[in-house]
Amino acid sequence: MVEKVRVRATLNGEPVDFLVAPYTSLLDTLRDELGLTGTKEGCNDGNCGACTVNMDGRIVDSCCVLGAEIDGSTVETIEGMAEPGKLHLLQQTFLEEAALQCGICTPGFLVSAKALLEKEPHPSETRIRFWLSGNLCRCTGYDKIVKAVQKAAESA
């Protein structure tokens, strides 16, 4: 029997302190242990980006991180993106540009796009497409997503 390990981290701005089995991915930790089901499982092997979260200022696939690894780290998920009663600009432009259909990939795209605009407020279309290449969408064909990110960059 492998014992659970204690993890203390900052999650969406709040301190968290929990026990988790050491072989649990960060994705499963968020969804099953911490009740944050906004982060989605797509491929579960680091290809699709549906499970993207921000860890210590960088986007990562949470399926390829262990929950135990975030001890001492700062993690932001889709749940931390909107302020109470007010969508994040990217969430607003995704709605306006209809940049989603089934919605499974959307939290990952939003977390990725937010990191890009925080780093580079006015990226080119090529740069946006390159940055988002680790996020797969099987519905939209990407154009609407790219336009929504461009619109957010223009209106910021």
């Binding site: 492998v2 089995a21 960088r58 696939d61 990191a115 290449s133 680790g134």
Partner: protein, 288 residues
């Protein structure tokens, strides 16, 4: 997934002790983008993963007077976001910026790429053409292995039980040195090379003093081709590059699989050898 312990090692000795304790049922954890996927797929049954990201030595990024030291746990982004390293090692930028997408580059590094020992690894050829040496720590002390001797088969390397890749070190390029890496994939990003070639040249005027050519995805391991040696003492001309491309093709033993055929892979090695030699020479001339 088979239940395993998570060990956060704070020193090389601690990591080696934890790895030695579990033998082949333990693996180091750096970026996790290969090891966690393999563990989940049941490829390995592990009792422990030893996190090596909190060890000073595996995080080293040091441009010294004669040597560049790159820790085994350093993720890809730390290469291309560093202006000084990017200027001196553009070939490492070539590879660090195409291994996976941004999410993967946040975690995965050239050390893990090397230890994963995939024949198609994008990161190994560039290390080979930069004459990199691997520093390996183990229960009996530290040893060094030339990077071209590191991989022994698909997914296999010289790393033994209890051993850990600590860092790669390579000479700071002299004036007249240039290197480049290119691969062919059907998609632009997030894909596995059907073939990849890294080339480096040391130029003296228009004469190639020495050259290295390394091939990916065309044999059971990344290959240091003999084609580089054949260029030594010759002029940097299109004709000589074409001859080198033919020599590189002769060193391959590719397979046909879902990604590409033997014929396609050999053809690609020829094209990519010429292109990377041209790019390496351009960079060598800029570096004068």
């Amino acid at each position: 997934m088979h239940p395993f312990e998570y060990v956060r090692a704070k020193s090389v000795d601690e990591a080696v002790a934890a790895l030695a304790k579990h033998g082949e049922r333990a693996r180091p954890l750096a970026g996790g983008t290969d090891v966690l996927v393999m563990a989940r797929a049941g490829r390995w049954e592990l009792d422990a993963l030893v996190d090596i990201k909190h060890i000073p030595e595996t995080n080293i990024v040091e441009l010294g007077a004669s040597e560049f030291r790159l820790g085994a746990a350093v993720p890809c982004y730390r290469i291309y976001e560093d202006d000084e390293i990017s200027a001196k090692f553009p070939c490492l930028v070539d590879t660090a910026s195409i291994i996976g997408g941004i999410q993967i580059q946040s975690r995965a590094g050239l050390g893990g790429n090397l230890c994963n020992a995939s024949p198609s690894a994008d990161g190994i050829g560039p290390l080979i053409v930069h004459h990199a040496t691997c520093v390996i720590a183990g229960p009996n002390g530290t040893r060094e292995v030339a990077v071209e001797d590191f991989c022994t088969g698909p997914g296999r390397s010289v790393i033994g039980n209890g051993e850990l890749l600590v860092e790669m070190k390579m000479p700071i390029p002299r004036k007249g040195f240039g290197a480049a890496y290119e691969r062919f994939t059907p998609r632009n990003e997030m894909d596995i090379a059907i073939a990849g070639v890294a080339s480096s040249v040391q130029l003296n005027g228009n004469i190639i003093e020495s050259a290295r050519i390394a091939l990916a995805s065309v044999g059971p391991t990344p290959i240091l081709s003999s084609a580089g040696d054949q260029l030594a003492g010759k002029e940097a001309t299109a004709e000589n590059f074409s001859a080198a491309a033919q020599a590189a093709i002769a060193d391959t033993s590719p397979i046909s699989d879902m990604r590409g055929t033997v014929e396609q892979r050999k053809h690609l090695v020829g094209v990519l050898t010429r292109r990377t030699l041209e790019r390496a020479v351009e960079r060598a001339r800029e570096n004068n």
